[in-house]
Assembly symmetry: C2
Amino acid sequence: RLMLSSQRIPELSSFVARTNTCGELRSSHLGQEVTLCGWIQYRRQNIFLVLRDFHGLVQVVIPQDESAASVKKILCEAPMESVVQVSGTVISRPPGQENPKMPTGEIEIKVKSAQLLNTCKKLPFEIKDFVKGAKEFVIPSREPGKFYCLPQSPQQFKQLLMVGGLDRYFQVARCYRDEGSRPDRQPEFTQIDIEMSFVDQFGIRSLIEGLLQYSWPSDKDPVVVPFPSMTFAEALASYGTDKPDTRFGMKIVDISDVFRNTKVGFLQDALSKPQGTVKAICISEGAKYLKRKDIESLRKLAADHFNQEVLPVFPKANRNWNSPVAKSIMEEQRSELIRLMEIQEDGVVLLTAGEHRKACSVLGKLRLECADLLEARGLVLRDPALFSFLWVVDFPLFLPKEENPGELESAHHPFTAPHPSDIHLLHTEPKQVRSQHYDLVLNGNEIGGGSIRIHDAELQRYILATLLKEDVKLLSHLLQALDFGAPPHGGIALGLDRLICLVTGAPSIRDVIAFPKSFRGHDLMSNAPDSLPPEELKPYHIQVSWPADSE
Amino acid sequence: RLMLSSQRIPELSSFVARTNTCGELRSSHLGQEVTLCGWIQYRRQNIFLVLRDFHGLVQVVIPQDESAASVKKILCEAPMESVVQVSGTVISRPPGQENPKMPTGEIEIKVKSAQLLNTCKKLPFEIKDFVKGAKEFVIPSREPGKFYCLPQSPQQFKQLLMVGGLDRYFQVARCYRDEGSRPDRQPEFTQIDIEMSFVDQFGIRSLIEGLLQYSWPSDKDPVVVPFPSMTFAEALASYGTDKPDTRFGMKIVDISDVFRNTKVGFLQDALSKPQGTVKAICISEGAKYLKRKDIESLRKLAADHFNQEVLPVFPKANRNWNSPVAKSIMEEQRSELIRLMEIQEDGVVLLTAGEHRKACSVLGKLRLECADLLEARGLVLRDPALFSFLWVVDFPLFLPKEENPGELESAHHPFTAPHPSDIHLLHTEPKQVRSQHYDLVLNGNEIGGGSIRIHDAELQRYILATLLKEDVKLLSHLLQALDFGAPPHGGIALGLDRLICLVTGAPSIRDVIAFPKSFRGHDLMSNAPDSLPPEELKPYHIQVSWPADSE
């Protein structure tokens, strides 16, 4: 950022809700209609405002005529350092009123419309304790009993940079997470971390699409933008997951209506419940490529991991290992199934019943298992040259807590902004509120995620204290920052190791990291973690607590 | 690296000792004279070699005629996995001998000359303990008594990547150093870290010059390349430092010969000793701009910090606060001084005597102090728009240990290669050996440094064990790696924070770091380091050792 020059400044308004930066307007812009975002630096007698952004200052003329009373009200009543968006025309300052000391001093903005983006409380504010949660590696310092910690991600820091007016932030960030031993996770990994002010979801998405298109290896097929997008609800209903692999079909179909009058016991049971559904996927050529033991292993997987019964049906094939239960499916249901699911010769249907989310999840898992099985038999479902990017959007803002489903927790993190269409539901049906979170999925793997953040302190306080029952003191530094003129902002982080792993077709992210840690978190090259003599711990005022049963 | 495509491969031979990579040669290169570097993958009946680098394989024809006996000897006697450089002509393989499975299978290299760059011991090798020195932050792990540490720099890791055949490495690396409280040092900082195989000093220097030229802010005067270079000996003699600010003159001049017959006591004393010298700088317009108390404060600085006497002389000005000692300088010496130092009206000479290095150091310090004083009086010596890059080269490889001057320590780090012209001195006069280290200096600040590294295990062992008296076991992983076909390699690291600080004219690197630590190493935003409850330390098997006198 610090190196950007005047020649490049026009690019700085890409992706965001302005046409120009405050600092770039000159006489050459006279007559242009512009939209600016910034902080109120100064106001003179309710006639002029000086608007400031990261790139400079510009004078704004507040309209005085009756018809623009609402615009005048916004601009005159907003406290200093509040964040506003103004639209208007670039005009010359009257002769003699030019300010030669100001780069934009020959012009001013005749405002037609204005929007208050955030109000600012009285400055200054004090930064309080920032206590860290679990799973962060701790580093003893030379002060007795005091520890640093390694950040899990720069999330709060980058939001504070936006509050500080930094406009845009881009970092190749090293992140550290102590997750114990988890396969294909590394305690140290790298993300491309981005945050922007005055941006919406589509701005962030375009930026990322352009970035991937630009940096894509030229020996692969070019990336086509924009990437398709899918709501979380559709991803769950059709693919049984929030990270659908859209390289192949085999989508989940709701076939509840076909079985309203079924005699099959477990379908009958499911449909008699208020949220009951019957769902299915169709494996094309399944009867040709899958063996009886394949189908049995799929049913066992569903039973063992999801406690779900799965019924294989061969609507067009006569196979002697057909399930006996399937025989009680009537001819009428069979033909309706064939019609609804467009089943061809040798198609196999896997059918399950139960509550929507659960039925979809099990079929989503079976869908991927089937793809593996069919590809092991020589069919190609997923072209290795195909890179299928997908935005998944409109996630729920909250989920019921696992340990106490009566309470809510954030589906992603508590700074995620609610979907503008659902804000009215926050007070009445918070579970129904969708968020402005978005995930980027590549070939069924989540490679990034981000959101538009809450910039309104009251909303953030309500969500933290009332809905999530969090101790707001722990996040008071962020809440206070929002109170003092935080701009609307949002961002994203891409997992660089996982992205490179997928692009190169490597089997594990450990293959694209220079000195990867083992499953147990060991660096085999440097033999870390390693013992240290007590005298090396002394400057850090710590000693080892040896377990009582250690040898 | 992983993203590089075939279209870009030609660029991969810039800066290094080859014309092409092994993997890129095709029939279109027939007849071209090429130079390749790589590892011996395979040898067939002393007639053919397969040479491998990071980019692929190529077949090399070993010459069989008597006149090329020495080339044949090198290529046939080198163990497998040894590193060689070969030059020769790209020729067609004889009809029927093409290998369609090999991208370079239509051609082979008719070799004219060859050089063994490194031999390889029998593979494989085992990686031993990698014990870390002081000043690294330690991180307790979930294994009792075992600690990770945060790397001070990726030095050894990047060298191992070169040994692993990675060809080129580039990282924006976060480094961590526990240096306690030091002004303008940050415990966490960022460097641009680079390492390349088959490169020499000039290759690294061109790469950095191009990088700075390319990324230079366009609102400043363009960077002119190549940057000038200066030996360490000249930097010391003319500027009294290894990081000269070349934006202004006021160079140190050796005036020993002028004072051979002096009556001034302290000059006489100094010159009577075998290493004795008399040195001076001339402050143009000093008599006009500097006050008596300025000169006195300069003399006091020299006395307090260097224990050196400094004599001000006004060869052309009559000033009543002239030093009484200066009056005993004879007229003949005065006119010789004016001639030698090209002294103008109002020029003031600061003169000192003693051993070369010490006399230069004190005058180097006074030179910068004088510049500050003159600029405080309104003269402009250092144009704020001027960015004066300088390579400082030919450093000594070793320095006498401060605590025991009879022993040697590395001037930089023990992996630095000796200057090729001085290798014969390693066994006889190691103190005289110059290194292949280079520093990049900008306006008197060191912004980067690097070196060509030792790739010969025997040489590395001799330097570590015999000259530096180090315990080679602690570095056995690196020594073993060098034994198994390490390519010649070298690199550099630029301090990104300091570079940006200088480019932007910020007074401190804390002004160009997002959340800088205070002098005491505190992050005021997040209040780190901070206390942790004992239960959060429990998973890491540590407890705080409270000092006995703590309150």
